[in-house]
């Protein structure tokens, strides 16, 4: 069955909702919007990382990158020292540009420097984290202009959620309806055949890394806008959450296979687990549970992937 992964994720979401409803009849009504809003950074970045993984590479630097970009935005916008108090509409494009350039740089390291992406982005993960600490100088940064906060809290409409939906739709269109999307899958499935078909592997990979940088910058902006606070630990660990969602969503870690729909469902599911566990009021126990459950889910997802591939390879003569 083609949509097996998506179906089982949906069932898990349904089961979890049901469970929560047993605790409180109005759980779904009260929390759906919250869960969606909480999933925003992961959702946006997963769209990029998914494409990177489809090409057969990986990017695990996005957590630090988000942290660094959030710190830069905070320093540019904050109205209190050491903030520069620059207008957000000027600061945001700057941050988006920096994010894209760093993504592009990562791509160059992988494509031209021939550094395996896991190593390159592992290095960046640490380096960018260091840069974030250095920039922040230890303390939290707060006090942002209202124009920026509006993007995160919204006046009436949840602007950040609408924006996220736009990103998801655009990514879906990219995958299914553009030549570029087709080529991204082609490069990940069989790079030498793709090359012989005249597809430039370098261009494709540079694009997906740069796009991931841009999307991370967008996520950073919405993050700062929503929380109104940036600390040295902002973004920490996010890369693992993103990779988890992408893999649980059914993207083959070797590239070439998988669909956006699965990733979207996985992001919602994993955000939901957190909310439901918080909601069930297990106290400090909840945090421990959550990690264990997330871990088991990765294992289940990855092994089921392995088994379904084995089934296929037993095919006809």
């Amino acid at each position: 069955m083609k949509y097996r992964r998506e179906a089982s994720l949906l069932i898990l979401v349904a089961v979890l909702s049901l469970l929560a409803t047993l605790f409180d009849g109005s759980f779904v009504r009260d929390n759906t919007l919250d869960i969606l809003i909480n999933s925003i950074p992961t959702m946006i970045i997963s769209c990029g990382v998914m494409l990177v993984i489809i090409t057969g590479e990986i990017d695990i630097s996005v957590g630090s990158l988000l942290g660094l970009l959030a710190a830069i935005l905070a320093l540019l916008c904050s109205t209190v020292s050491p903030g520069l108090g620059i207008h957000p509409y000027l600061a945001i494009p700057i941050v988006l540009t920096i994010g894209t350039l760093i993504g592009l740089g990562t791509g160059c390291l992988v494509v031209y420097g021939r550094v395996p992406s896991i190593i390159a982005t592992l290095g960046l993960l640490i380096a960018l984290d260091g840069a974030q600490d250095w920039l922040m100088g230890g303390g939290d940064i707060k006090h942002f202009p209202q124009q920026l906060r509006n993007l995160g809290t919204g006046t009436k409409l949840p602007i950040n959620l609408i924006f996220t939906i736009l990103v998801v739709v655009a990514t879906g269109l990219l995958c299914r309806k553009t030549a570029l999307g087709r080529r991204i899958y082609a490069v990940g499935s069989n790079r030498s055949a793709a090359r012989l078909a005249g597809i430039s592997e370098a261009k494709i990979k540079l694009f997906v890394f740069a796009l991931t940088g841009l999307l991370t910058a967008m996520a950073a902006t919405l993050w700062v806008a929503k929380l109104g606070n940036v600390s040295t630990s902002t973004g920490a660990g996010l890369e693992l959450k993103v990779v988890t969602c992408v893999v649980v969503g059914g993207i083959a870690i070797r590239g070439g296979r998988g669909r956006l729909l699965g990733v979207v469902l996985a992001v919602i599911l994993i955000t939901m687990i957190r909310t439901v566990l918080n909601f069930m009021d297990l106290g400090s126990e909840a945090v421990k549970w959550q990690r264990a459950i997330e871990g088991v889910m990765i294992l289940v997802a990855v092994t089921s992937d392995h088994f379904s591939q084995r089934q296929q390879s037993g095919g006809s003569s």
Binding site: N190, R195, S317
Partner: protein, 505 residues
Amino acid sequence: MNRTPDPIITIESVSKSYGGVEALSEICVDILPGEVHGLCGENGAGKSTLIKCLTGVIPPETGKITVDGTPLRHGDIHAAELAGIAVIYQESTAFLDLDLVDNLFVGREIKKFGWLDRRAMEKRALAVMQRLDFTLDLHTPLREFSIAQRQMVEMARACLRDCRLLIMDEPTASLSSRETKTLLGLVTQLRAAGVSVLYVSHRLEEIFQLCDRVTVFRDGKLVATTPIEQLNRDQLIGQMVGREVDVLTRHKEHTERTDKIRAKITGLCSRGRFSKISFEVRSGEILGIGGLVGAGRSELARAIFGVDRYDDGEIQIDGITLKKGSIQSAIEAGIAMVPEDRQHQGLILPMSVSENLSLTILAELTKYRLLHHDREAERVQSLMQHLAVKAANAKMEAASLSGGNQQKVVLGKWLATKPKLLILDEPTRGVDVAAKAEIHRLIRDLTEAGMATLIMTSDLPELITLSDRIEVMCEGEIAGQLEGGTATEEQVMRLAFPRGEAQRT
């Protein structure tokens, strides 16, 4: 073979189906000790499935297989190995990063006090190579060997394992004539030593030269097992396709060869690969490149298509000089290439037939940056019809097609670009007789319509009947020219072998 000894392997009414399609239906075959048993049939006839049943890769659904009267445990690779069934696969299954010794003994290492006894293994490796009459360096990773050499290693590995039945699946598909000869000699030697060989091949000359009996499958069913003396070529083909076909139709009466030079190669050199290659291909002409494996044909094809860089020389298409080492500029200039290895280079196996076919023309199918799915479906449909691709629908994975149909998809993908120069590297390797004839017909039709075609092939009848002119390469250089159609296989081989060796052949 007048008196029949007891068979060593008996296959009794074995059946196997995949998703409702019967790949094997009630197959009964027995293999006698010390016989070379040919197994023929078009791709998809069930040969590979039978091999998988014999080697325990998959269990048959009904029936049984007995070795020396003892039933073989179904679906148990280890049991099959212990019973003495070894297989040399079409595509080498070697460990490319391990060296020759490691490859020979992997899974059956010789140990001393629990540690690997490399010296003993090296000794046995040398002995077995001597027996098979070849020498290769023991400590070179297999990746650095040619496909032919890797196959020799696989044969040596089988010999080391005291096998009773050696299954060879298209072993010569990627070998040159000389290597084929060595390999066939080797098979004869094995037979003399009492080893039975199940020999699967599309090359009928080899079947007639080598086999004692031939079993033919068609659509998963047994057609017949016949002693080779009672068959001629046409009858055997008849059994395979269910009708008598004229496989290698004589070449067309020369179509008017236009004088328009499509492709001009001047003084192309690439160190260690080939040198001083010059020729022209005209519109409406098929130029064949013959030669042994390793003569530099594939390398030449790759250089012309911009896959590899070259050191010196020039390639012109319709008078315009190409950029070195750029596939994109080769494609823009109107070159297309069907590569040697269709599974790894030609196709993207997990993608659908449709996605594979449209991969080269995505730009054409895009409007306002979005793919035009209806137009894509239309183009794909017309390509599939034109090429007579046999697939349930265009959404099928390319991996599930038979070899012949896969090759048609690769061809179709490039025909979609309406190339000026089509390069074909071993276009019918591992392709069944009927599909081969269709591919030949397509190549001719397209060339007559004004395309220039460059074909590299080890299949001598194909080279001679298909080409208008032939350039024979030897050790990276052009050794001579022949006229297509009138050249003989001997003439080609005489040019293909390095000087000194030619006298002996």
